[in-house]
Amino acid sequence: MPVISSIKREYLSKLAEHGKRADGRKFDEFRKISIETGVASRAEGSARVKIGNTQVIAGIKMDVGEPYSDSPDCGVLTTAAELIPMASPDFEAGPPRGDAIELARVVDRGVRESEVVELEKLCITAGEKVWIVFVDIHILDYDGNLFDAASLAALAALFTTKVPAKRFELGEDYPLPLRDPPVSCTFVKYNGVVVADPSLDEEEIAEARLTVATDKNEDIRAMQKGLSGSLTREEIKKVIKSSIDNGKEIRKILYKSIGK
């Protein structure tokens, strides 16, 4: 972790005491989100997501392979995230470190446990051949809140994915079978306040972080608490409520980007 100047910490904390954030946002307000789909034409589906200055690209590749022995009639989904050195002076080349793995796993859970991808429809021959879906996430520009940017990029990419059946001589290409997506919202706590969609500066001084994914029925589909600080039950309740509210807006942006 980089050394954070105490000046930055003090400045953001003072602002928070007056109910303010450095970029003028309200505590529960996201930065501007934009989604562009079809950004990599070799991929089966792809999307670039910007949340403020944070920029993430996700691409989907599909292959035919063997199913897991405990789910012989289901497709396989794997998610990988790369914190490439392009995105930040602090990211280094090499095998994924703890933070990249945590990011990939949180995104993976958001996508897998919510059962967005109808894996049971991706079986070709039970026990032998199924579709494998690779979600690869590249962080291009890091200005905080990779969790939400990466999840959203993964979703938008999945929603534009065509199963490449023709290439594998398995009939005509068809859209990847998907259910309604959950949307992930991340919050951090510093100096006693909890703010949505943390910028890099806010993330650097954060004591605790909480990511909540909610679906359109306002149910919770995945959670992850991070960092060494603690959260009170009240704060968690507030975060869930705000996730549902922000989630609705983000879902609208997602649907618009995929023309739904």
């Binding site: 990599a40 690209i57 590749k61 790369e82 050195p85 392009m86 995105a87 890091y142």
Partner: protein, 244 residues
């Protein structure tokens, strides 16, 4: 799998498989300064290639034993996204990308005024988002723009372009099928101001005469791409001037 003889790459009138004439480049689009965190950056589309380049530095070279007390080291890192090719590429460096990183680093080092920054490193990250023949030329060209955008002192903005041979004809800037089924590929990078050659690789089969013709053509291509590079940098700073 298609074999070489199944594909007609060029017709009797010199028209190529994608409709270009022998001396035509694919369509190139360059944008400078598209990332917020990097000190300099560039997005480049070259035919079906999509490439990003980002520059960090000069900064202290780590680990320490890599430092050169007399000049900066240049670390280019060429990386292909897993989804940039037809069959998913396993993430991380392989032998091919390491080699490309090395020859690009060496090419860039020649034009950067490295002796101004002893013990420093200048890091150039090249990400291939979409690959369709000629990614090393696209990557090096994008790196040149990103370095200029980062304000790294250079003698010149390096630029690359390939020429090659298909069915006996020397042509500029091979496309995907031409690269797969053609006879030779000659990627070249130059310093356009002096004409010095910074990178050159060749695979296939060329006679001496064909080589001369191909090299002339590649250098001509480099100059054409160089003009697009300069326009991209100008247009970024023009818009900055307008705001002020």
């Amino acid at each position: 799998m298609k074999s070489k003889s199944d594909v007609k790459l060029i017709d009797g009138h010199g028209k190529r498989i994608d409709g270009r004439m022998p001396h035509d480049l694919r369509k190139i689009k360059i944008e400078a300064g598209i990332l917020h965190r990097a000190e300099g950056s560039c997005y480049l589309e070259w035919g079906g290639n999509k490439v990003l380049a980002a520059v960090y530095g000069p900064r202290e070279a780590v680990p320490k034993h890599t430092q050169n007390p007399l000049r900066a080291i240049v670390n280019a890192r060429y990386n292909m996204a897993a989804f940039s090719v037809e069959d998913r590429k396993k993430p991380g460096p392989d032998r091919r990308s390491r080699e490309i990183s090395k020859v690009i680093s060496e090419a860039l080092e020649k034009v950067i005024l490295t002796d101004q920054f002893p013990r420093a490193s200048i890091d150039v990250n090249i990400e291939v988002l979409d690959a369709e023949a000629g990614t090393r030329c696209a990557g090096l060209t994008a790196a040149g723009v990103a370095l200029a955008d980062a304000g790294i002192p250079m003698k010149d903005i390096p630029v690359a372009c390939a020429a090659g041979k298909i069915e006996g004809h020397v042509v500029l800037d091979l496309g995907k099928e031409e690269d797969n089924f053609g006879d030779a590929d000659l990627p070249v990078a130059i310093s356009p101001r002096t004409g010095e050659i910074l990178l050159m690789q060749m695979d296939g089969h060329l006679t001496l005469k064909e080589f001369d013709e191909a090299l002339d053509l590649a250098i001509k291509g480099c100059h054409a791409v160089s003009d697009i590079q300069k326009k991209a940098i100008m247009s970024k700073y023009e818009s900055v001037l307008e705001v002020e």
